[in-house]
Amino acid sequence: MTVTTRPLFDPPIVARAIREAFAKTVSLRHMARNPVMFVVLLGSAITTVVLVRDIVAHAGHIGFTLQLALWLWFTVVFANFAEAMAEGRGKAQADSLRAMRTTTTAKRLEDPANRLSAEPVPATRLRRGDCVLCTPGDIIPGDGEVIEGVASVDESAITGESAPVIRESGGDRSAVTGGTRVLSDFLVIRITANPGETFLDRMIALVEGAQRQKTPNEIALTILLSGLTIIFLFAVATLEPFAIYSGGSVPVPVLIALLVCLIPTTIGGLLSAIGIAGMDRLIQQNVIAMSGRSVEAAGDVNTLLLDKTGTITLGNRQAVQFIPVGGVTLEHLADRAQLASLPDETPEGRSIVVLAKEKFGLRGRALADGRRVLVAATGARASDADAATEAEFVPFSASTRMSGVNMGALHVRKGAGDAVARWVQENHGAIPVDLKPIVERIAREGGTPLVVAERANGAAHMLGVIYLKDVVKGGIKERFDRIRAMGIRTIMITGDNPLTAAAIASEAGVDDFLAEATPEDKMALIKREQAGGRLVAMTGDGTNDAPALAQADVGVAMNSGTQAAKEAGNMIDLDSNPTKLIEVVEIGKQLLMTRGSLTTFSIANDVAKYFAIIPAMFVVTYPALRGLNIMGLHSPQSAILASVIFNALIIIALIPLALKGVRYRPAPAAMILRRNLWVYGVGGLVVPFVGIKLIDMLIVLLHLA
């Protein structure tokens, strides 16, 4: 899925949202899901009935009641508009996904072992367990497991990543997704999902919010808001008897106006929009959450389990130092190390070439072509350059555990210490005494020693050691500091020995590490954390990660991972970027913060509304209650209208906030609380006083009351 950052108010989305806002308003079933807005809906309906009665009877303040009824209806429509806006972005994305789900014809294999037994069937007729053949250019007809073959696959339709990926049978790269395209070779795939249950189908449903269920916190908040609504229902309903006692009476529309102003319509109207927008923000990050529940859980996470490789360190080790032995000069070692690494395409090999160039000005000598011939283009070393034309690359193999080059009589080798030592001894060389301590020191510090030796016309001799080091990603320490500030503990998971792990852990600034980790260790760690009441988040991609992913409270599976891992996790990162866990946590927190802030704002708003409406209600019975009209509102009608209008408009005004979420900066809870309380608590007290007064002035200006 390609990520297109849409503007918040994209015209087509707005147009669709307006249409849907009205459709939602007249759907009782939809309205009944939201108790607060349902009460507003009932209030609007009753006010409308009163309006009709007044028009028929030519009684009451028809103009006033009409405006009241309109604004009450608007309140409902505005809330539905907010929800439709939040859904709109997802729906637009779902449409583009749906367009991909073209009807493909699959080549079903009667006998999976016989590729000639293929018969064409529509993809929709494939069932779990069927086997299909895919050749270059074919769209893979459904989610499945590669059981034979290896091929490059274009998954850009799902991930947005244009570089093709390799899919092969067995191992951790065997999962394929329906809708992606085979580019080369062939694959035999066993289908693992029935039509309608595929990843693409699920993704469309999730993005669209079709299966959206209220999340636990949303349910709890709805209960609170419903409770407050009932309390205000008591307060307003009993006001009429008290008014009768006092020798007056309050018209029903005015009572409804007070009720609607008091019940928490701001948060009630925006609650579902906030939840949908939170999911949407994840999708913008290319993460698909299988449920809203997991997004909430992400906000609560106490412990992050992070794999070392790819998350904390750059995927590979890098050369950081040359250490000569036995009286060899540093330049000589660097030169030979670079020479031996020129044809070495591994990241480690390339890092050696780069280090030699940076430290000693040894210019990179280009690899001429696929015939594995060296062209050493150093003018000062013409002899080498001549020889290099005849150079022969000795590739790394598991049995020799070293690699190198042969250039005429000059043979250079680099590799594991014992392997190179054996090569030197076989070639009648001696091992310098200073080698062993250096190798041991590097290993102790968490690095990898790579020993270099050469043989030029006769006996071999040791040159020195290349220090290969795990390089911690730039800026990762700062990110961990931020995470720690949020009160989250980070634990690094690595297969390295404890010594190496400790060195990297302290450099990266993680709180703890699990060294020489097996899948069982990982599982045990998660269970231990959870037993202590903590919520654990982790990423994983391999099949052996699946149990841990399922056990973790937030398990983010990499899209490049196996089907088993994707099934086990409750989120999938389409970019397969393990660092994204941090963003996921931040989005979860932001979601909860937005809810809390708007709830606080909504409740704090009520204070001003009381001071507007109560004196207006009883101005006839008790003119002395004018003393409560501290805003100096023009008339009872203008005061009540101004409150209702403010109440409706604030929903619209807060839609951008609901969709984007409140500003989030990682900080301790006490600091976040202080800031949000000032903005949304104190702000919530003050804003309506100003807003209602301004609207009142406008009403007077326009002669509306």
């Binding site: 636990p216 916190n217 307060a235 906000g299 609380l673």
Partner: protein, 571 residues
């Protein structure tokens, strides 16, 4: 307002503060079972009643035990009051208490309300006073403390299914806490002049030569627990304004201290049990600030007096021989400050003992006790009831504001989720609903209107006060309302039951749900519950929830009365 007045308030506040820790620690030891100096008595009680003190109860069982015990003791009291003319210890030959009065009184004393629509000295035999009303003063207070302990255990325990044992909590609370302190306190009161006898009433001739009947009775024994257990039911009709109940300035101070002692100490107990003493003090601070705000308002209103009186030439300025302010309905012995202080103390806790007539306060002065009750009796509150009411408010605060830090709200490591919010809201809803709906009913029915002593907004205040006081299990009367009618006896009696048991069950359910949860360790991401910011937040939530619920009704009662008084109208 005078320097002397502030000094007295200062001394009272400091004494409350000094009492909090030692008594709080003592209560911890009462309920964790480490106190054993009465173990023999305790064991005999358990053996006789067939209680297994080691049995732990699930919240439902705890609730059923409490309900069954309350129902049985209420029935017993009803029976004794109805039959008191046949029973001994009735030197004045009091007749049987009427059915409606007996029902209301039994309900009222069972629920720690002690709303009295009868005059003690003209209605109750000594037997009824001693064995029923005083008995309820002890056990209703012990029940309240037991329930608070159950809630605290629910919060403190991890992954537990039980909340303790109601019977054990009841016995230990009575035996180790209420009885010994009451005994000592009663002796001190007797020394100060509170009477304690079972004699015939005495006929005396006053200095003016008028014959007067002086009611007698076992007053001190009931007086001590009346305050200590925040019960408030007076032996005499005049309650703590009566010189035989509250004879000296010292007893006045001691009685106020006794009212605050346990509710204040329980905050310390809570902090200790939760291993978060600062949180305990934060709760205490929130309570004290609310109390002080109410007190200042009432004191200021009463000291300023009524502008209409001033306009007619009454000297309302305090001087050495004139208390100034509004002295209507106040004991000259206590004056402005001790009347305002007592009124605030008795309404902030759910005590309801009075030493002045709240009905005669200025509109704002009288609104303070009313608002104190309507805030949910959480400003120190009743014995136990104040703490659990406050904890429910804390849970709501944590839920509303806790989301703002970006986590599912947690309270002392327990996640606050749907079920907990549901029970906390039910607790708040029952209270608001009972007061508003019943007051509204009384405000528009002839039977309800008949009881009023005053018309207009003041009459509405009287009605609101009666239903607030009964639902809040306070029991103080605004006075002015004639409560001994079928309408009021029945409604108010039921209201005390609603305000107690319909709130207890959701509260115990909340405790049970919390007990089952795991404890999330505290981190930098945890919502802080010990900071001044939290105290301010808690106060705001209490005020906003209380104010938003009752402001419309109050605006037609004391608020408008206040404006009208300044416009020259009284009711």
């Amino acid at each position: 307002m005078t320097a002397n007045g502030w000094l007295q308030i200062g001394i009272f506040s400091i004494l409350v503060l000094l009492l909090t820790k030692p008594l709080g620690v003592y209560i911890v030891r009462v309920f964790d079972g480490s106190l054993t100096w009465l173990a023999t008595v305790e064991r005999i009680i358990y053996r006789m009643s067939g209680i297994d003190p080691r049995e732990e109860q699930h919240w439902t069982r705890y609730a059923v035990s409490m309900l069954v015990f309350s129902a049985a003791s209420m029935l017993l009291t009803y029976a004794v009051l109805r039959l008191q003319h046949l029973l001994p210890l009735n030197p004045q030959g009091m007749p049987a208490v009427s059915d409606r009065q007996a029902f209301e009184t039994a309900a009222s004393f069972t629920t720690n309300t002690n709303w009295q629509s009868y005059g003690g000295e003209t209605t109750m035999s000594y037997l009824s006073q001693m064995t029923q009303l005083t008995f309820h003063n002890f056990i209703s207070a012990a029940t309240g403390i037991a329930l608070a302990m159950a809630l605290v255990r629910g919060i403190v325990r991890r992954s537990a299914g039980t909340l303790g044992n109601f019977w054990v909590d009841l016995v230990r609370g009575t035996l180790y806490l209420l009885l010994p302190i009451s005994l000592v306190f009663a002796l001190v009161l007797t020394q100060q002049g509170v009477i304690q006898n079972v004699s015939h009433y005495v006929t005396a001739t006053t200095v003016e030569g008028v014959k007067q009947v002086l009611a007698m009775g076992p007053v001190a024994s009931q007086e001590a627990i009346k305050e200590l257990g925040t019960n408030g039911g007076g032996f005499f009709n005049a309650n703590s304004a009566h010189p035989f109940e509250n004879p000296t300035p010292l007893t006045n101070l001691l009685e106020m201290l006794a009212i605050f002692a346990i509710p204040s100490a329980l905050t310390y107990t809570y902090g200790r049990m939760a291993r978060n003493q600062r949180h305990g003090w934060a709760i205490w601070a929130a309570m004290y600030i609310l109390f002080f705000a109410g007190l200042t308002t009432a004191y200021r209103a009463e000291a300023r007096g009524n502008p209409i009186h001033a306009a007619e030439g009454v000297d309302v300025v305090a001087s050495s021989n004139n208390p100034g302010g509004n002295m209507e309905g106040k004991e000259v012995r206590f004056g402005i400050v001790n009347s305002a202080l007592f009124a605030t103390v008795t309404s902030a806790t759910s005590c309801g003992a009075v030493n002045s007539m709240h009905d005669s306060f200025t509109p704002v002065g009288g609104m303070v006790p009313l608002v104190n009750i309507q805030l949910g009796e959480v400003v120190f509150g009743g014995t136990g009831a104040g703490l659990y009411g406050m904890i429910v408010m804390v849970i709501l605060t944590v839920f509303i504001a806790g989301l703002m830090v970006g986590r599912t709200p947690e309270y002392l490591g327990k996640k606050i989720e749907a079920r907990e919010v549901q029970m906390a809201m039910l607790f708040v809803l029952v209270f608001a609903g009972a007061i508003l709906v019943l007051s509204a009913l009384a405000a528009v029915t002839p039977a309800g209107l008949q009881g009023r002593n005053n018309a207009g907004p003041h009459g509405l205040s009287e009605i609101l006060y009666a239903f607030s006081s009964t639902a809040g299990n306070n029991g103080s009367a605004f006075a002015g309302l004639t409560g001994s009618t079928y309408f009021y006896n029945t409604l108010l009696g039921f209201n005390t039951l609603i305000g107690r048991f319909a709130m207890h069950v959701p509260m115990l359910a909340l405790a049970g749900f919390l007990a089952e949860k795991r404890i999330v360790p505290e981190s930098a991401g945890t919502f802080p519950v010990t900071t001044p910011l939290f105290v301010a937040l808690l106060i705001s939530v209490i005020l906003i929830v209380g104010a938003l619920t009752f402001f419309p009704a109050l605006s037609l009662g004391p608020v408008v009365e206040h404006f009208l008084m300044h416009a020259g109208r009284v009711f």
